[in-house]
């Protein structure tokens, strides 16, 4: 029966021959494909190969314990449904296994009807879980597409508003009081922030679609860093922050997209400028070993509180900046993380409140 095939085979792990044979007979008669084995290790190996939809596991077998087998199967086989076969008086272990994620238990001795019933229910349960996940994914995709659509639609009006702001400054500039000019400046900043947000969002979507990074080639990371530092120099000077580097001359090349990596470093250094008070410094350090090239960006800023640290790479997460009006889009670090993912690299952060923060970007060689 083709329908039942597509669900994946059933696997019976039991050291008792009568159980294995009995299950096989009953279930094959109902049209399922059945695989049997005598012990946990073989069962796990077969399961990883065949991806069964449902596995019967005897709790009490010599060798690997039933609970251990459950743990591994749940970890390795997506959507697998586990039914534990228990001895007459071992309800406690049955309950324990259900706490660990087993779907149901079959106490011995059990009838063919009971076996068929639990199988049917278990497989239906699995179907529902798979469908639920598909729906969740579809919903998420729709949400993302919607936000992308809105972001696109927002760009044009934002540009228009900005252009009018420029006109306003020119047309009415002379007759505007200091207060009025201040208000226009603030509006301007917020509009720019909104623009950044939209751009970042669209960039992230592009990374996820695989359309942002064009081609990867061998690039000189020190050149990328130099470019980013060059770009950020004016801002650092304005904020009275020292920007220094210590990059070895022979920093190895990596495979990547130079343009997006420059943006990553600009982002990270930019973050440092937001959270470091005037007179502080930002330090870029590079090193490498046989397997990785690592670049760290440290600042002497006020640091990130420990309870906020795990969230900073999440989308829209923001921490208040040093200067009053500074507002990030909340997407900068999410963007950086995705670019690093796309390069097979890692980005990590460590911080001490009052002392400073260090970001470490690690690339495979």
């Amino acid at each position: 029966m083709a329908e039942k095939e597509s669900e994946g085979p059933l696997l019976v792990i039991d050291d008792e021959e009568t159980i294995r044979d009995g299950c096989r007979q009953v279930l094959e008669k109902s049209g399922y494909t059945v695989i049997t084995t005598t012990n946990g290790l073989d069962g796990i190996r077969i399961a990883r190969e065949k991806h069964p939809a449902l596995v019967f596991v005897d709790l009490k077998m010599p060798g690997m314990s039933g609970l251990e087998i459950i743990d591994v199967l749940l970890e390795d086989i997506p959507y697998v449904v586990l039914v534990v076969i228990t001895g007459y008086a071992s309800i406690v272990s049955a309950v324990e296994s259900m706490k660990r994620g087993a779907y149901d238990y079959l106490p011995k001795p059990f009838t063919p009807d009971q076996l068929r019933a639990v199988t049917k229910r278990g497989l239906e349960h699995r179907e529902l879980r798979i469908e639920a996940k598909m729906l969740r994914d579809a919903k998420e995709q729709i949400e993302k597409d919607f936000i992308t659509f809105v972001s696109h639609e927002m760009r044009s009006p934002l540009v228009t508003i900005q252009q009018y702001m420029e006109s306003l400054k020119v047309v009415a500039g002379d007759c505007l009081s200091g207060e009025a000019r201040d208000i226009i400046e603030r509006c301007d900043k917020r509009i720019r922030n909104l623009e950044d947000l939209v751009e970042h969002w669209l960039d992230i979507r592009h990374i996820e679609n695989g359309t942002l990074i064009r081609e990867k080639e061998r690039i000189d990371l020190s050149g990328v860093i130099a470019q980013a530092m060059e770009d950020m120099k004016p801002l650092c000077e304005k904020r009275e922050l020292a920007l220094e580097e210590d990059i070895p001359e022979d920093l190895p090349m990596i495979i990547g997209d130079g343009e997006s990596l420059v943006r990553v470093f600009v982002n990270i250094i930019g973050n440092a400028t937001k959270y470091t008070p005037a007179g502080g410094s930002i330090f870029v350090h590079g090193e490498y070993d046989m397997h990785y090239v690592s670049v760290s960006v440290s600042d002497t800023g006020r640091g990130i509180p420990a309870d906020k640290l795990p969230f900073i790479f999440e989308m829209f997460y923001r921490v208040k900046g040093e200067v009053e009006d500074q507002r990030g889009s909340g997407l900068g670090l999410a963007f950086c993380k995705r670019i690093m993912d796309a390069h097979g690299g890692k980005i990590d952060v460590s911080s001490q409140e009052g002392k400073g923060t260090t970001f470490v970007l690690r690339f495979p060689r």
Binding site: R155, S156, T160, Q163, E166, K169
Partner: protein
Amino acid sequence: MTVKKKVLLIDDDRDFLMATKLILEKSGYEVFLAESGKSGLAMIESTCPDLAIVDMMMETWGEGFDVISKIRSLEMGKDMPLVMLSGVDLQGPYQSYEPSDEFPKVNMILHKPVKAEDLIRYVGELIG
């Protein structure tokens, strides 16, 4: 009496036309507006501007290129200072436009939104 220099703006975005007109008029230029490539070309001939600013994207993507080509093929447009505006909907490979060698010359490419002081300075550099 000094004659005002004439600037022609060709863009299908009315808001952009208005906003830019305000900036340029305040700086003493006489500004003409055209909302399409077709009317823009007609206005080149009728007003004979000192400078034309053309949006890259109008009704269709890249329509601005077409308009620039046509202006350059006119006798009066051969050496006319021309500025191209790059649109806001460009992404990815089109974001930084690099004209090919055969493409008719534009004197400058600007990105929207244009800062008032930049616009005034560039126009001043091109036509005084």
